[in-house]
Symmetry: C2
Subunit: 236 residues, 2 copies
Amino acid sequence: MTATDSQPPAKPAPKDPWTLPDVSGLVVGVLGGTGDQGRGLAYRLARAGQKVIIGSRTAERARTAAEELGEGVEGADNAECARRSDIVIVAVPWEGHADTLRSLRDELVGKLVVDCVNPLGFDKKGAYALRPEEGSAAEQAAALLPDSRVTAAFHHLSAVLLRDPEIDEISTDVMVLGEVRADCEIVQALAARIPGMRGVFAGRLRNAHQVESLVANLISVNRRYKAHAGVRLTDI
Amino acid sequence: MTATDSQPPAKPAPKDPWTLPDVSGLVVGVLGGTGDQGRGLAYRLARAGQKVIIGSRTAERARTAAEELGEGVEGADNAECARRSDIVIVAVPWEGHADTLRSLRDELVGKLVVDCVNPLGFDKKGAYALRPEEGSAAEQAAALLPDSRVTAAFHHLSAVLLRDPEIDEISTDVMVLGEVRADCEIVQALAARIPGMRGVFAGRLRNAHQVESLVANLISVNRRYKAHAGVRLTDI
């Protein structure tokens, strides 16, 4: 037996979690791209150089919104938006979430889907978390789209800050959840395209509910502190 | 009708949300003060100059842990800890949460109770949120302690950082939840005693579940980034 025999087989060095893929060439679709959150995200990603198509129920409405956004954003109906995109961000209202995804199941086969929907209820005491039967909006998406690659991200961004052209940097972290590391890393890289943002892996889809619901708390923070609060993770 | 008539009645200026009461004279009890989280919080608060009593099922165990902590920390059984404290932090394991609080109902009458328990399950895929029947650990506490002033806070602190005597500042925000503004402000002020921390009002108890559960996500973050992640709220 030689000295070499006693050495364990060479193990690859652990991957640096901040090494992320180049996503600059991917087309990003935003379903519900005419809503506040959708328009804000579309604007910010397009401004960062990404090719963005916003989707709406009617192509005309999407095209009008796209023209207003500028930055090369295109508009299309939801089906065309899904078909032409590599990454599809779901930014529809929670009320239309299940129906929209069900109707786009074919177009979304194989696509990287990024759910950013926050199921919330509102009453006179403010916002509160709704609990989808599947556990979360993201898990509902995963159940409805078994042939898509479902992740969750972009929950905590202020539409007001996203849309303000005077703001160059948005200092916040984007928590990215999903089952497949490579898919999460693409979404993390997409978030990092926006100046000031980091995309941080933050767990599996079964832990999406609390990330989605935390927006209810941010709404309380905004009210008390007259702010557009976001989240940063410390020590990373 | 004079010009004065048309003016609305003078409204008090809105209160600065960062103006918080002086809590330096209050005694802080930590139930479950011999666990990792409890010891860490007790150490940090005592080091910041607060009078701290840790509680455990047996006085002897509490006293031994208190001696190890130093900084003037005292130990007592849970009942004495609750009786002698103005603010009582609940840092017991989730499994013992309901029983401990039920047994201390009399001692906790009128006290400001701060629940910092995270109901989590663990399996080979990592941590996941448990859903208490009452909605959250904090709401369970409120249900079991109708004559106490129940708040929730201190969920996202790393016990490792809290306990490390080499660390002077812990840069993080403490989300504080509760129904009564004055009670929340006392807890916010208590958090702010620890260098680097801010206490931030983050909603009512019905929105505690997601704050408690977010620890499951921080555990994923810690694993991926080899960190002791915490939370900062931006734009405030």
